[in-house]
């Protein structure tokens, strides 16, 4: 695929206008193939990205940019299962990316 999504970075600018990711531990719910995750992960301290689709999470792992290695943890898990196994007050920012439905 050679298509370009939002090369003008309008969505990224809108995201950075509402959140400062510096030094933050971020949970992204519904990360899909990671295309959105790459946009902010470099600014975050650490990202935990969860996705219920095994196919999508495999794509995310496969396309993880080198500079983000070690910064992002991917989990192939539904949010309910992830939440029930997680400690309270663990995250500075939670992102719902097309997943609140």
């Amino acid at each position: 695929m050679s298509f370009r999504i939002d090369p003008e970075n309008n969505e990224t600018r809108a995201l950075f206008a509402v959140a400062n990711f510096g030094g933050q531990h971020v949970l992204e719910i519904g990360c899909g193939d990671g295309r959105f995750t790459w946009r902010y992960a470099e600014k975050a301290e650490r990202v935990t990205a969860i996705e219920p689709s095994a196919k999508q999470i495999a794509l995310a792992r496969e396309h993880l940019p080198n500079q983000l290695q070690g910064r992002i943890e991917f989990h192939n898990i539904a949010f309910e299962d992830f939440a029930s196994a997680s400690a309270p007050s663990a995250f500075d920012i939670v992102i719902l990316s097309w997943s609140l439905c």
């Binding site: 298509f3 939440a83 609140l100």
Partner: protein, 148 residues
């Protein structure tokens, strides 16, 4: 959905923030741009097949009314996706349908719609006198909420 937001509230630090991003439930124009000229291919009617993102807006309103979160910011972002060919756009649309269709029936109804748009785009691109770009517009809601 509201239960999920309660869980998110539990996982967030008291000083944290919830960012919600979801598409605006409206038709997205698809265009072909060449040499300053814009031809409309048609509209991608996501409302007909996509999961109901209006429910997401309702859940955010409800959770704010219940006092779990306070809305600090709400806005809309416009973005464009550029495709080199109609076939590439169709593959991408089919992936979106697979991921976001409400159910199998909606997915089945959406597929011919996507194919018709791709066929129209192909026709217009073939008629283009110079290199043309196929562009899909998308508008997304972005909200920031803080736990209260």
């Amino acid at each position: 959905m509201v239960h999920a937001l309660e869980e998110i509230h539990r996982l967030l630090k008291p000083t944290g923030a919830l960012i919600d991003i979801h598409p605006v439930a409206e038709s997205s124009p698809i265009e072909i741009h060449q040499c300053g000229r814009i031809d409309l291919v048609g509209y991608l009617s996501i409302r007909q097949w996509c999961i109901d993102f209006q429910q997401a807006d309702n859940a955010l309103t409800e959770i704010a009314q219940r006092g779990l979160f306070a809305v600090e910011h709400q806005g809309v972002s416009n973005s464009l996706t550029y495709y080199a060919s109609a076939a590439e756009m169709l593959t991408s649309l089919q992936e979106s349908i697979d991921k976001f269709a409400r159910d199998a029936q909606s997915a089945g109804e959406a597929a011919p719609h996507a194919e018709a748009l791709a066929a129209r785009a192909e026709e217009l691109m073939r008629a283009a006198v110079s290199e043309a770009e196929l562009i899909v517009h998308e508008r997304t809601h972005i909200s920031r909420l803080r736990p209260t």
